[in-house]
């Protein structure tokens, strides 16, 4: 299991190849990549702030939770902070399991925790407008749907 917080870009291909090479007997590997989207067509960049003393521990905790809950063979989380431009990868998750459904559920679960419980905040910076991204009710609902989820 590995959880990393970093400002620099990560090499998705290299990360997945290394992740798969380490796993001994997984029949299923799922990855998720989150990318900066420019819906308005005028986003200059996204700024991601985080809570350094807390972040990596939180990511590790969620990855371990996912591994235990779904019997994963392995899990990987990488999350960036700082300035990111449209099209850049913000973060990635990879899960390996003997069976497909566990790999999918583990990645989905991990993402629900990262969305609402990992100490990151996103700010969208356009030429004439700056706005902190608001959390979504759906994200809390998705988290609450897992039986082990804490109440918000």
């Amino acid at each position: 299991m590995a959880a990393r917080v970093q400002e620099a870009p990560f090499d998705f291909s290299a990360e997945v190849v290394a992740f798969q090479a380490d796993v001994q007997n997984a029949g299923a590997v799922v990855t998720f990549t989150g990318v900066v989207r420019d819906d308005s067509g005028c986003l200059d960049h996204m700024f991601i702030e985080h809570y350094p003393a807390m972040t990596e521990a939180a990511l590790q905790k969620f990855a371990l939770q996912a591994m235990e809950k779904f019997g994963l063979e392995d899990a990987l989380v990488i999350h960036r902070y700082g300035v990111l431009t449209p099209g850049e990868a913000i973060m990635m998750v990879a899960t390996a399991a003997r069976h497909r459904k566990d790999a999918f559920a583990g990645a989905d679960y991990l993402m629900d925790y990262l969305k609402s419980r990992a100490p990151f905040w996103k700010k969208e910076v356009s030429k004439d407008h700056t706005e902190w991204v608001a959390s979504k009710v759906q994200d809390e609902d998705a988290l609450a749907a897992w039986s082990d989820a804490p109440k918000s």
Partner: protein, 83 residues
């Protein structure tokens, strides 16, 4: 009791600083907010709607009723938007 307070995202922007050391008798995170609000309008603006603010005590998520006993670091921030 001496402790560090950290602010993130728009809470940080409204308060006007990212971190400060305080000496307080607050029993809970809520008490601490009550003290801060009395200081100036920036704090009052930052904490005007507590339902929009999350609390971490010594890097663990808590809430405004969590006791501060023996804690070293309290952080206030909006709901997280990772992923």
């Amino acid at each position: 009791m001496k402790l560090d307070i950290l602010y993130f995202a728009w809470v940080r922007e409204r308060v006007g600083k990212s971190q400060e050391a305080v000496d307080t008798n607050a029993k809970t995170a809520g008490d601490l907010v009550d003290e801060l609000i009395l200081r100036d309008a920036g704090y009052a603006a930052a904490f005007s709607d507590l339902s929009a603010i999350c609390v971490a005590i010594d890097q663990e998520l808590g809430d405004f009723t969590t006791l501060l006993k023996d804690c070293r670091e309290v952080a206030f921030f909006p709901p997280m938007t990772g992923g």
